[in-house]
């Protein structure tokens, strides 16, 4: 035992050592997560179907996030209209407000802000729920009762987020464009015909498709990351709490990175 020997390591070495360990741990988690996710997904085509549990999750995650999505969408639209108006007015191009608001929301803010709201509301609850089930041995109980917890607990949530996010993002888009209209046309005097006409003229299917693809990918990522973090949480109260915050952070960063990748694809 070297009790009394002082370890002479420079702080730089310690720092890099720690970074290296984090990186290794991160890569391990990535591999483990992918394996777990693929396992859960592979069960999607096997019996028994989990239709009822999928519906329950869709309710908890989709309907549950509806209010926050509408609120976020509404205020995003309004702020964009305000900001956009004052900028465009300097060039005398206020009539383009509809297009500006629409483009920003449909291409970027709808999918990304929508995903963030959903991560906060639905993603964190997924991680916490699953983590708690693990701590209290409920997943083991399911196993012993011959119900596969990956099929019963993980899979419905992943499918639910993948489907719910595009739906919610579309609602976000419509609400945002709508409140942008209210602020722009009713309050700031932009021509109502111009708002919609420019919006329609300048937006192509490629913008919409890009938005929906992003939403679908984000939804899938949120499902995979949050279920994984919950499933692998250290089975203690602190472990679950830590896993929940980590899941939110990782999912959010993941969304931002994916956003960049998908945006460069579409441009």
């Amino acid at each position: 035992m070297s009790n009394g020997m002082i370890n002479e390591q420079s702080s730089a070495a310690i720092f890099f050592g720690r970074m290296g360990r984090y990186a290794m741990h991160g890569i391990e988690q990535l591999g483990d997560g992918t394996r777990l996710g693929m396992h859960a997904l592979s069960l999607i085509f096997t019996r028994p179907w989990q239709g009822k549990h999928f519906i329950l999750q869709l309710y908890a995650l989709g309907v549950g996030s509806l209010v926050i999505i509408i609120i976020t969408g509404a205020f995003t639209g309004m702020v964009l209209a305000l900001q956009g108006y004052y900028t465009l007015a300097k060039f005398g191009s206020e009539s383009l407000l509809g297009a500006g608001v629409g483009m920003s929301i449909i291409r970027e803010l709808g999918p990304v802000l929508g995903a963030f709201m959903i991560i906060g509301r639905a993603g964190s609850s997924i991680t916490a729920e699953i983590g708690i089930m693990r701590v209290t041995e409920q997943t083991d109980a399911l196993e012993m009762m011959a119900v596969n917890p990956k099929r019963r607990v993980l899979l419905p949530r992943i499918v639910a987020t993948t489907i719910a996010v595009p739906l919610l993002v579309s609602i976000f888009d419509v609400v945002g464009i709508g409140t942008g209209y209210i602020v722009g046309v009713e309050m700031l005097g932009v021509n109502s015909g111009a708002y919609m006409a420019e919006l329609i003229a300048k937006i192509d299917m490629i913008d919409l498709n890009g938005g929906w693809v992003k939403a679908g990918v984000f939804g899938f990522m949120i499902g995979m990351i949050c279920t994984y973090m919950g499933y692998r949480a250290t089975p203690t109260t602190e472990g679950v709490a830590k896993a929940t915050t980590q899941a939110v952070v990782i999912a959010s960063v993941g969304v931002l990175i994916m956003d960049y990748i998908l945006t460069s694809f579409y441009l």
Binding site: T136, E137, Q138, A141, L142, E143, M144, M145, A146
Partner: protein, 269 residues
């Protein structure tokens, strides 16, 4: 009927269970006892298939648990039940749905029939009438009894009990112990009970297995165990802190640490 062959389970540097052979007799109650950290819960998890062993095999008749397909494993599990230490009730379901869970999942029985069966199981544990309560509203003892009813729901042939009496008041503990004994005998079940409640274990078991540091140090009928002259067994049965099973886990002398002068103080032995 269930046989563990050369089982070991390694976590990092530690062997929670090491080179253990165990034979669970069919139709009998086997109690696995030992101090905390002796590996009994790990052994239980290996025997029930929740964890896979680092070495060795778990045999159910001719089937090796680890090599079974998921489908076959789940088939086997339909005739098994398990009572978890903290009940592990599904907390989004009420008492009725929890007990009926295996029936809903694996049978096509009419709801009326299921209702009758659940009533019967709940009556056995003295909780008929509590069907609509949620797990969070139950006391520890009540939750354990509901979990017992759930474990029995499909009239299993093999049941595992993980610390069934821990944390319970003497009356509830007695009730659970009696339930385990009577139900096992009545239905000729194979029961594996992990417990550190010495009196309960000795009272209900047909076969006792004593573990320490991941190995079996004694096995036999309750009478044989109680008559054992092995120092460790005696220490465990009598609940003494001094003996071969160390109470203190530290590896250095307390007096030395206290006076910061390693090796200079000698205490008269």
């Amino acid at each position: 009927m269930i046989r563990g062959e050369n089982l070991s389970k390694r976590y990092g540097d530690v062997d929670a269970v090491a080179s253990t052979d165990i034979h669970i007799q069919a139709g009998a109650i086997t109690a696995i006892m030992g101090g905390s950290g002796s590996g009994k819960t790990t052994l239980l998890r290996l025997l029930s298939g929740l964890d896979s062993p680092t070495t060795g095999h778990v045999w159910y008749g001719d089937d090796d648990l680890c090599s079974l397909s998921e489908q076959r494993l789940y088939e086997l599990r339909e005739s098994m039940g398990m009572l978890f230490q903290y009940s592990a009730l599904l907390n989004s379901l009420n008492v009725y749905d929890n007990v009926a869970f295996p029936l809903h999942e694996h049978t096509d029985l009419d709801e009326e029939v299921i209702r009758t069966m659940v009533s019967m199981k709940l009556e056995q544990v003295g909780l008929r009438g509590f069907e609509s309560m949620m797990p969070s509203e139950l006391s520890g003892g009540m939750a354990k009894r509901v979990a017992f009813a759930r474990a029995m729901a499909m009239d299993p042939r093999i049941v595992f009990f993980d610390e069934p009496t821990s944390g319970l008041d003497p009356i509830s503990a007695g009730v659970i112990s009696t339930l385990i004994h009577d139900t096992s005998k009545m239905n000729r079940m194979t029961s594996v009970v992990v417990t550190h409640d010495v009196s309960a274990g000795l009272a209900i078991a047909d076969q006792v297995v004593l573990m320490w540091q991941g190995r079996i140090i004694a096995e036999g009928t309750p009478a044989e165990i109680q008559a054992s002259t092995d120092e460790r067994v005696r220490q465990f049965l009598e609940g003494r802190p001094d003996g071969p099973i160390p109470f203190s886990r530290s590896t250095t002398s307390y007096i030395d640490d206290l006076t910061h002068r390693p090796g200079t103080v000698r205490m008269a032995q």
